[in-house]
Symmetry: C2
Subunit: 424 residues, 2 copies
């Protein structure tokens, strides 16, 4: 018997029929003797419908009332799923955020969970109930309804698992796990049995399609074993876990982000505060910056040292960012601003590279063998990112997937927490 | 400056445009310097939609989860109305049932309000807000979401008005007040400026189209001045108030109920308990009984006194009630069961009849002049009800409306609480 927290997103609960299928899945765990807490999102489309109503009334609706409005979406789902479970003979009790309670700070629309009082849920479980909890919402200390922002349901599930000391937190999605890379680019991309929290975070560009980054951070912080698996197919999915529990492969996967643009300021006088001077205006305009690199310039024709400063943004923000940057660069007395749109970042991720010195060399050689020019390089302890022209994306990812033999299965690890579906 | 509680039902908040119009109406009261608490129902159709989803999952959904589900309907409306008010520049704060809190017993789906803690609302009003409260819902002592049953929003409004010591509770509907009788029957039926709580209760068959009876009882008990008025037309409506505040007319109005059926047991041995023996099985089959009359029989041919026992039910229940009654009558040794469907009850209602002796005589003469045969008569202190064949309905109501000159305006009373709409 295990205590399992499961989370089903909006597309998994998008209709009455889908809710019935989830009830059947949850029932199998109960019949297996497990205690189950289920976290659900609003039915697919419901949040958009409610937002549409609000926007008809007020183009800039106040966040407090948006939270009152949007939190009804999950409340509908918890009631319906509890009914569906009871209809199958599984006792169930629904919980809104305030009924748990899930106490958050008072940043409406983007609240963060402060603490969870698990006693009410524990009582419901002890009485033999499946506890069905509304994701994405909480209550502030002063009794206001809050929401954690879109996608916050993953965080709710992880936080509940931590508060209850659950054996596993299962995030059900429309994919059956985390892959070595995007299977649309590399057909023999392989589903990972396990991956570490750190790797999952570094693989954000793959991972964000599957899991909210905040939920992964939270799970890592509290050591909650997290499993990503498919709602409507059976299978073990991918277990995201602490490093020392993993059979370490050198490389876990290859992430990439298309549609990036690079901006470089050449010959900036190297004074304290230049990074802020250049990036401050960019941030104020809500332009997200990805990679940041700073090289010392070889230019010694002037009295002080000059440096080159490079960063990447999304392609759509290229023009706006360039304009802002040219203004800042002029004020700083920089020599020149250059940039290029249509570039792609490719990242090799793996905790194993810490103890394997030649990973970078192997990576650069594989790319060189394909005549792919590397424009930028940036590394962390467990990731090597390069920037290339987008036209080389597929070629680069396939070459790296082959080089590190990611299609080959490492030793299998199984927690035994995923029961086999009835096949009748 | 007055403190006013307003209630708008589902058809008044059925669309974003209607919510905007209500916000404008509420804003006029704020601009007039009044403090306003607004109680709203779910948007028209929403409760049916949610019930439909529940029934797809479980034909007999558990009441606790139905309350979790249905209470979202009003929660959506309070958020939207608060947004609409803020958009017009009126500060507003929404309150769910549990946020007020409105504490109820734990009879899910038909809960009764136990108490209201007004401090949170009072604070919101003191801060200059319109308080927008979800009708029809509460929270039990153990923290469960409850609903007061359909139509319970009227009761919410009256209970809030009582708890806050409001100057007036305004119930907005699709009619512009309470009429002397149904205007479809008597074209010159007149809107009443005032009516007492007792009269309103006795005019249930008219009043129930306008107000929930429980809300009227509640308002009477706590002395809350209640006003029925139209959502989308301007006008003073009808004030329902305590007897001693009313300029007493002899007769306030004429109520009627079509589709009744009469059942009579003739020659029942007059022993204690016969009423229960005859009506018990009827009640157990959920058949509602309206008028009940018992006459002492003139029959003295046997050792004990015999009596006749008559009651009325809805036409649709006639056959079932007759079958049950024949069985009970046989067991009691009664002589005969007779009955007739297709009859109508017409009631003359007015607190003034207490001090006017000849009201009944005038009523019977007016009907006699039209050759209308009276089948049954029943009276209370402020009501005289007769039963006639349905074909005489219109004739009887018009004759009585004329006899008591109900189309003529009594002296006007105005509380001054209804501001005139801007006409621009």
């Amino acid at each position: 018997m295990a205590l399992i927290v499961q989370k089903y997103g909006g597309s998994s609960v998008g209709s009455v029929d889908k809710i019935k299928r989830i009830a059947e899945k949850v029932k199998r765990y109960r019949d297996n003797g497990d205690e189950v807490v289920v976290v659900v999102s609003a039915m697919g489309g419901e949040t958009d419908r409610l937002q549409g109503l609000a926007e008809e009334l007020d183009g800039r609706p106040v966040a407090r009332e948006m939270d009152v409005l949007l939190s009804t979406g999950e409340q509908v789902t918890i009631a319906l799923l509890a009914m569906a479970l009871r209809h199958l003979g599984a006792e169930a009790q629904s919980f809104t955020g305030w009924q748990v309670p899930i106490v958050s700070d008072d940043a409406h629309a983007k609240a963060r969970i402060q603490r969870i009082e698990p006693d009410n849920l524990r009582s419901a479980l002890d009485a033999g109930n499946v506890a069905v909890v509304a994701g994405f919402q909480g209550i502030t200390e002063s009794g206001e309804i809050s929401t954690l922002g879109r996608g916050g349901s993953d965080t709710t599930a992880v936080a509940l698992a931590a508060a209850l000391g659950a054996d596993e937190c299962q995030i059900y999605t429309d994919v059956d796990g985390v892959y070595t890379t995007d299977p649309r680019v590399v057909p023999n991309a392989r589903r990972l049995e396990q991956i570490t929290f750190e790797e999952m975070l570094e693989m954000a560009s793959l991972g964000s399609k599957v899991l909210q980054i905040r939920a992964v951070e939270f799970a890592g912080k509290y050591g909650v074993p997290l499993r990503v698996l498919s709602t409507f197919d059976d299978g073990p999915g991918t277990l995201i876990t602490l490093e020392d529990q993993v059979e370490e492969p050198i490389i876990s996967g290859i992430a990439f982000t298309k549609d990036e643009a690079q901006l470089t300021v050449l010959g900036v006088p190297d004074r304290p505060g230049i990074a802020y001077s250049l990036l401050g205006p960019i941030g104020e305009h809500n332009i997200e910056v990805d990679m940041i690199l700073q090289n010392v310039s070889g230019d010694s024709s002037s009295d002080y040292t000059l440096t080159d400063f490079t960063f990447t943004v999304h392609s759509r923000d290229f023009d706006a960012a360039k304009e802002l940057l040219e203004k800042s660069a002029k004020e700083l007395g920089a020599r020149e601003v250059s940039g290029q749109s249509g570039i792609t970042k490719v990242s090799l991720v793996g905790v194993g590279m810490r103890s394997h010195a030649n990973v970078a060399a192997r990576m650069f050689k594989a790319l060189s063998d394909e005549n792919i020019n590397i424009r930028m390089i940036s590394t962390t302890e467990i990731k090597i990112s390069i920037v290339i022209e987008t036209k080389y994306l597929e070629l680069a990812v396939r070459a790296l997937h082959d080089e590190f033999e990611l299609d080959e299965e490492p030793q299998r690890v199984d927690s035994g927490l995923t029961p086999t579906a009835d096949q009748d």
